[in-house]
Amino acid sequence: MEYILYGILKAAELIATLDTEVFSIALFSLQISATATVCASLAGIPLGFLIETQDFWGRRGTITLFNTLMALPTVVVGLLVYSFTSRQGPLGPLQLLFTPKAMVLGQFILATPIIVALTISATHAVDPRVKLTAMTLGAGRVYTALTILAEARFALMAAVIAGFGRVIAEVGCAIMVGGNIRGYTRTMTTAIALETAKGEFGFSLALGFILLAVAFLVNIFFHYLQSRRD
């Protein structure tokens, strides 16, 4: 029990003194996950919208596929990105492996299916009269699509947050394609895994608290936005 108590006290000290290493790791994690989430949103929201609103052969199968991909194991994605970015892989010449770019790529692959699948259900839930009303007011196809997305904005925000939550907390892919290099590709989750193995509970707990605080703040922000609607 004593070492846990010691760990908590150490974590409090590291946070209170704004320990450079702890906070630089936290900041780096946020940067990687935020970049991956923004890219996944830019790709996933239009894709999800098109899948929901267009009629094409294999549409139901596509929706099922994206629902399945939501549970994609992080190590499988890590393996996929590793094999593509390793020296012998098709993206080998770009020398992406063990760089932040490879980590963003891996997290992008993890977040996109979540954002696509949740965008499909968010668009599906929009009142069909929204489209009709936009058309009666002279809106063209693009403006009508933007109006439907605007009406679904709270559900879309939930989709983006779910995507962010998935990648900020994942460890398998980040450790495989980032390599957990100190000061370069070390994130909160990879650092927690490493430091715990080394017995550095205080450092791990400090990062764990920050990770929880991030999740908490994101949720508070989301609830604030939702409350503004009502």
């Binding site: 009142d127 009269r129 929204v130 009709l132 009303t133 936009a134 058309m135 009666t136 007011l137 002279g138 809106a139 063209g140 403006y143 109006t147 605007a150 009406e151 609607r229 009502d230």
Partner: protein
Amino acid sequence: MDTPQLEIQALTKIYDGKQVLDIPHLVINKGTIYGVIGPNGAGKTTLLSILAILVPPTSGNILFDGVDVTELDQHALRRQITLILQNPLLFTTTVEKNIAYGLRVRGIGKQERTARVKECLRFVGLEGFEKRKTIGLSGGELQRVAIARALALNPTVLLLDEPTANVDRASVDLVEQILRDLNNSLGITIIIASHDMNQVYRLSDEVVHLIDGRLTRAPAANLLRGRVVSQNGDLFLFDTGKLRVAVLPVKPEATHVSIPPEDIIVSHNPIATSARNSFAGKISQVSDEGESVRLVVDVGEKLQVTITKRSFAEMELNVASPVYVTFKSSSVEVF
């Protein structure tokens, strides 16, 4: 002089193999209020959707100011012919953004948008509502914002589908007054589709009746649905399920009959006349109509009958009085 604004030529609409509209010809003149009356499923909403260029007809043409609408820019046209849906939807934002929506679509600047929103809100009696969220508006306020939103586009034709279906009684009068003002002061042509006959007659300069997708001469009362069941020489029988009415030769596909209340004779006993239709029933309702009295006689179907006040007094009629109603087959309109 009447100037045609919209003209329907040989219009049909077929959904899933079923013909829901068949209008050979209809002209809507500029600056008038048209009422389209019909029961649910008569094709009113489909007609308005076609006129609003939201749904293409299966065949036929719509002319706007003499030009076939297919030759015009559809988006621009939708701003001129604006439809307010039954149970209109307001976007989940502020009243101001809703009203300015069509102006933003057109790329109109913020200053002009703000001024136009203010003007439109004043017209519908909702000054100061700009920053209000649409969630929480009453049915009447919502309908007025929907009218203001359509009005912001400066439409020349306004189409309204059941404009007061979700509006409280006090707001109905207000909405009707707004529609009259739009027509009187801005010269907007208005087409109202409703099943509320009183409202349509109250508001409209001209009324058309739509039954099963077809226009009919105005059958104001005693509209009964059914089918032709038998033919005996030159006499046909029309069965409503509760009543069999003798009618003059008709097309076998007829689905409705209408009997003018003034053409029905009421008596205490069966009378010997050439009239082919005579039914026993009971009076279920009596209402004073000024010079005359309107009775509702239940003969299986409830028939409205108009008689003079003097006849009413002399016959000593009242609710529950047993009576006979008699009318000629030639009085029955079949369509």
